[in-house]
Symmetry: C2
Subunit: 123 residues, 2 copies
């Protein structure tokens, strides 16, 4: 194989290696950009409801994500607070923050992989 991909595909097409990444538990996706954004928005707003709205996600779906995360974690990642006039007061724990941070670093390593593969394709 002597030819580089760049000789096979026309130049100037803006070739890019792209992809998506997630974390599975027992073969099922359970953590990725969606749950991370939900945790971050719960931290911002103090409300699972507000966080879901901001993501155009149903309240039911948001609760399912939160309860799956809590079920999988050694300690809860979200402490929900229901009731009250506005239903606010939900918080995320240190464990949630560490999960968010781990995910950020994982995404950075993936971005580097994609960049390096995109560069490689062009040389």
């Amino acid at each position: 194989m002597d030819k580089s991909i760049n000789e096979i595909i026309k130049p100037g097409l803006g070739l890019k290696v792209n992809g998506s990444l997630w974390i599975e538990a027992d073969g099922k996706r359970f953590f990725g950009p969606g749950p991370v954004e939900l945790l971050e928005r719960i931290a911002e707003t103090g409300s699972i409801n507000e966080a879901a709205k901001a993501m155009r996600m149903s309240y039911k779906k948001a609760w399912e994500l939160v309860s799956a995360l809590n079920r999988h974690a050694t300690k809860p990642v979200v402490i929900p607070k229901t009731g009250g006039e506005h239903g606010g007061g939900s918080t995320i724990t240190e464990e949630a923050k560490e999960l968010i941070n781990y995910h950020k670093q994982l995404r950075q390593r993936f971005a580097l992989f994609l960049e390096s593969e995109t560069d490689k394709m062009k040389s």
Copy 2:
């Protein structure tokens, strides 16, 4: 951040970093596992129609993939042969084989990335 992900997520859940990968031209997916399998099956069967059937893909979709590949390539990757009693005789070119080979190597590098991230998560 002192805790590893393994201390935050319960042990024994079969944690795994997984993902998908594709190649874009001008921001649109144009090459990935599907087109590669189509090329391989055209090579095997000599027929775009048979290749599509084996993948439960419509003939129209297979033709669209083939023509997009040919449009993006400096030389055609598939030489279609229509007509004849069985409509066979389509072939793939050296360029197609190099594209398949490049993709195989890319997938291997991605598999290594995912394995290394899965291992990292466990330590």
